[in-house]
Amino acid sequence: MIKLCRSNKERQMKTNKNKEPNVLIITYCLLLITAVFHFPSIANADTLSNGNYSIDVGNIDTNPQPTQIPPPKNQVLGISTPQPEFTTGPNYTVNTSNDSFSINVLQNTVDYGILSSTNPVIRTSGISFSDPKFGAEILTYENRPLESAKNDIIQNTSCDNGDCSSFTAAVWTNTLTYGFGYRCDSQDPTLCDPQFANSNYFKQYPEDSLNEQAEPLMINNGNTHQNKAVITYKVNIPGTQKVTAYYNSITYLAVPGF
């Protein structure tokens, strides 16, 4: 019995020895792939060229060099620094705010999927803008209500009490209230319309096809650094609504203050 066990163990050890090189090769390959994918990005070259020029540098010293720190300038109270003149020409002067301003919308399409009756679809997307010198706002409007290729329309919501519009928000929780609307949420309560402080309050988008004026979605007067908001879109259709694809376009226009 003992002999039999020993012979089994010896056989196992032999097969393990045969497997070991294979395992080692796989391991080395994996480590090699990992290493190759891990350090692909930076290539420091000492020759730059194209069709018109070539620059050869003997060596590139990538060590950070000590830089001289300029001495701090004394600020004199009561005297404000004059704004730099941007450009001038004969008979005119252009002064600028000397800043930059940006908008960032996290999605270029909001997909509601296939709609089913009395089953509200809720989607969210992020929107932000930079903090310009004089504040900023984001104006919004839709080109038209959600509309199918055969001109079937999902109307903008009028909320549970029938009161909401493009400038008045109202509660919308009833699954038997139909339409399309939005709300805005931000950590800073002054950024979005204060009406959205109440949860489940929604508004309609102003309709460009009806010549309605764009409405402010977010406003920053330059005194808060919180410029991010989450927009919640809600669609709900009745049983009589044709189940097909509906489309519209929603515009977010970032306008700086002055």
């Binding site: 109270l77 005119y92 252009v94 930059s100 999927g113 509309e147 009406q195 004026q213 700086p256």
Partner: protein
């Protein structure tokens, strides 16, 4: 060996999973955000600015102009003139005298930007010698081209009956254009006030300045606060802002959003637009002197107000403390005797 293989696999898995998630975001940047142009006809004006596509996908933008309603936008938040209404100002065809040009002076109605690409553009305005004196306030708008996302087009009809909204992104540069002689600058300080009696700080100052002149102004100034001994103990810098012609502006250095701008009557969570002096402990009579210069060439205005601070709560607490100590002292003295 199995352990080594396991860790190698794990490391590979972690490494592959760390790749950034690519979203279909749109990001646009303009610099500067405001162009203030003062011109005397005839003038050939060139105002440079830059627009950048900060996202990872190409974008085509349509360039347009939209007039600002000066009365509705007097506190710095832009409200456009309603659709169909004429643009404010003498020359109703002022937009025909301007164009956006590229580095080669080619006029542009649309601009295509690749990922991370920026374009240096110039607003070119030609004012003839007979151009009437007036101010024009407008936004130069760059709106994502929606030509390819026309929802009526059968090309866009999704076969899986999926409903969607296309997001169109846009960005604006404000242009304040003053045409004519800049010498006649007139303004009035409509309001400079603070409550006369107060217990403690911070102190709010209401300041409303009206621009009576024909052109926009950018006043500079400060409020100096002196105590009853004549020592200057505080200073509030008036933020540099623009007052449009024929409008008043409420100055503020605190967080304020005009509730009416949202079209709602809900004002419950709003602050009032004021200049704040953040001093907390106040005692006695104070003098606040406002110095305001409407332009680098003047005129300069000064106005003085007084307010009195008496920390009633602190003094009441102190009195109660003294009374308690006195009572304890008397009781102890009585027991001792």
């Amino acid at each position: 060996m199995k352990r080594v293989l396991f860790f190698a696999l794990l490391f590979l898995l972690l490494d592959l999973s760390q790749k950034p998630a690519l979203a279909d975001d749109i990001s646009l940047n303009v610099s500067p955000s405001v162009l203030k142009i003062q011109a005397k006809p005839p003038a050939d004006i060139w105002a440079p600015f830059t627009i950048k596509d900060q996202s990872d996908q190409p974008i085509t933008l349509t360039i347009g102009y939209k007039a600002i309603d000066p009365q509705a936008s007097q506190n710095g938040n832009v409200i456009f003139v309603k659709n169909g209404q004429p643009i404010p100002g003498e020359d109703k065809k002022i937009f025909e005298k301007m164009q956006v040009v590229d580095d080669n002076n080619n006029s542009q109605n649309t601009i295509s930007l690749g990922p991370k690409q920026s374009a240096h553009l110039r607003l070119h305005i030609i004012l003839p010698s007979d151009e009437t004196n007036s101010d024009y306030y407008f936004s130069l708008i760059f709106l994502e081209n929606t030509l390819g996302i026309n929802q009526n087009s059968t090309n866009n009809i999704n076969e899986d009956q999926s409903t969607s909204s296309k997001i169109q992104t846009g960005i604006a540069v404000n242009v304040l254009l003053a045409i004519g002689d800049q010498s006649s600058i007139q303004g009035t300080i409509n309001t400079f006030s603070t409550p006369f009696l107060r217990e403690s700080g911070p102190v709010p100052f209401s300041l409303i300045v009206f621009n009576n002149g024909a052109h926009f102004i950018s006043p500079h100034g400060q409020i100096l606060i002196k105590n009853m001994f004549g020592q200057t103990i505080g200073r509030v810098t008036i933020p540099s802002t623009t007052i449009l012609a024929g409008t008043g502006r409420t100055f503020t250095n605190n967080s304020f959003v005009d509730p009416t701008i949202y079209g709602s009557s809900n004002t419950t969570s709003q602050n009032s637009p004021v200049l704040i002096w953040p001093e907390q402990f106040l005692l006695g009579m104070y003098t606040a002197t406002l110095s305001l210069t409407l332009s680098p060439n003047g005129p300069m205005y000064a106005r003085t107000i007084h307010f009195f601070a008496f920390p009633l709560n602190y003094l009441l607490s102190l009195c109660i403390l003294i009374v308690i100590i006195l009572l304890i002292y008397l009781r102890v003295k009585k027991k001792m005797s």
